[in-house]
């Protein structure tokens, strides 16, 4: 069996943490490595444990989920983020997508959906309601195609396949620093701040470029 998905959970409601932990105890492919009850503590845990996925409430004390997400992206932490919230209004979904979350799970949906979302996000999939993906694609379509070099397209293609920097470096026979350098150039050209958003743009552009 492959390595379990390592996750941290963050929610200021102990009941939710307890419920999720209990449910995840029966899922051998997912391991909860730590839990936090506020955003500041979550950031420390992510740096400490380097989990695959952070599952976090969007409403939390000290640092709310969206600020936390911004900080994760600013520090370029490689963790994937699943937002977990009781609010499924359009604005919450928009904010999570704009902030670069990898997925959006609801406390008002059956908890097994959250578990499935953790798996999907860990595998590099973007987990959002279909209506939100339609909106995201429409928004990207309004923008002119970015002027990327052939090398940058290659890097972006691999990013969109969910590959990590070391994997991309190996595939292109370059150093990891070179990959980071390309990404630093690619993100502003695409007007994005992280890999997930970059992948979103890639999928949208794929058709028009061929």
């Amino acid at each position: 069996m492959s390595e379990p998905i390592r996750i941290v959970l963050a929610d200021d409601h102990e009941l939710v943490l307890e419920g999720l932990r209990g449910l995840l105890a029966d899922e051998p492919d997912i391991e909860v490595v730590a839990t936090a009850t506020d955003g500041a503590a979550l950031l420390i845990l992510i740096e400490q444990h380097q989990p695959d996925v952070a599952v976090m409430d969007l409403q939390m004390p000290t640092l709310d989920g969206l600020s936390c997400l911004a900080e994760i992206r600013r520090r370029a932490l490689s963790v994937r983020v699943l937002a977990l919230t009781a609010f499924s209004d359009g604005e919450s979904i928009q904010s999570a997508l704009e902030g670069g979350a990898d997925g959006f799970a609801l406390k008002t949906a059956p908890p097994r959906q959250t578990i499935e979302a953790i798996r999907q996000v860990a595998h590099g999939n973007l987990v959002f309601p279909p209506a939100a993906r339609k909106w995201l694609q429409g928004r990207r379509a309004d923008q002119p195609p970015p002027a990327l070099s052939e090398r940058e397209w290659e890097v972006l293609t691999l990013v969109a396949q969910g590959q990590t920097n070391p994997q991309i470096a190996e595939a292109l026979s370059v150093s990891e620093n070179t990959v980071k350098f390309h990404l630093q150039n690619i993100f502003p050209k695409l007007n994005v701040t992280n890999r997930t958003e970059a992948a979103g743009v890639f999928f949208k552009l794929q058709g028009s470029r061929k």
């Binding site: 209004d89 359009g90 919450s92 209506a131």
Partner: protein
């Protein structure tokens, strides 16, 4: 708008808001509360049985399944209430962004398809105008979903000559629109949503026209001057 009219509109808006609150309370009462009560009753019954004799798997398994379903349904109903009434960051987002958010939400909650077109460069509108347009669209889409019997609607947002224009169209069953202004204006409870739309837009100096007929779909046009209420 004339000061007296404005005063009247403000009073009517207050009444409409109260009636809307009433509707939310009733929804929670009729939905999740009944289901949570039923779920708790089932669990308590199981507890009581278990005190006297061992409970077999054949007994507890279907019961736990029923409780689980009741809880899921309650959460689902609460989801809609929370989403519908949570204000979408009006101060932070522009008109286009809040309207897009509302459409995502409507599609997500109802599995209805909303085709949306907008001009790329919409003028900035004041906060009250933004809120009015948002709540009007919310009511219009909700009506299309609940009453028109369609799973599809169209929304257009455009700007002309100092005005922002919002259009909502559906090809549903339509109805005979009641008078919304003047001495004949409808006071009927089922028209509260329509009255609310009309009052909201007049408070920010705009107009609402509603074209509909049985079998002919519904077409709502809202126009509001960009800076009327500054």
């Amino acid at each position: 708008m004339h000061a007296v009219d404005e005063h009247l509109a403000a009073r009517r808006i207050l009444a409409v808001t109260e009636e809307e609150l009433q509707r939310i309370i009733l929804d929670i009462h009729d939905g999740p509360v009944q289901k949570l009560f039923a779920a708790l009753s089932q669990l308590n019954a199981l507890q009581a049985h278990a005190q006297h004799r061992p409970v077999s798997q054949a007994e507890w398994q279907p019961l736990v399944g029923r409780v689980s379903n009741l809880l899921e349904e309650s959460l689902g109903e609460i989801k809609t209430s929370l989403g519908t009434f949570r204000p979408p960051g009006f101060a932070r987002r522009n008109l286009l962004s809040v309207i897009e958010g509302l459409i995502i939400q409507q599609e997500d909650f109802t599995a209805m398809r909303v085709d949306f077109e907008s001009e790329a460069n919409l003028p900035e509108v004041s906060l009250p105008t933004k809120i009015a347009l948002y709540r009007i669209l919310q009511e219009a889409l909700s009506n299309a979903y609940r009453h028109a019997g369609v799973t599809q609607a169209r929304v257009r947002l455009s700007a002309t000559a100092g005005k922002v224009r919002l259009e909502v169209l559906d090809e549903g069953r339509g109805f005979t629109p009641p008078p919304l202004v003047g001495p004949e204006a409808t006071e009927r409870v089922e028209h509260i949503g329509l009255r609310g739309m009309r009052e909201r837009i007049s408070l920010v100096g705009g107009t609402l026209t509603l074209e509909s007929a049985p079998g002919a779909g519904t077409h709502i046009v809202v126009e509001v001057p960009v800076n009327a209420d500054e």
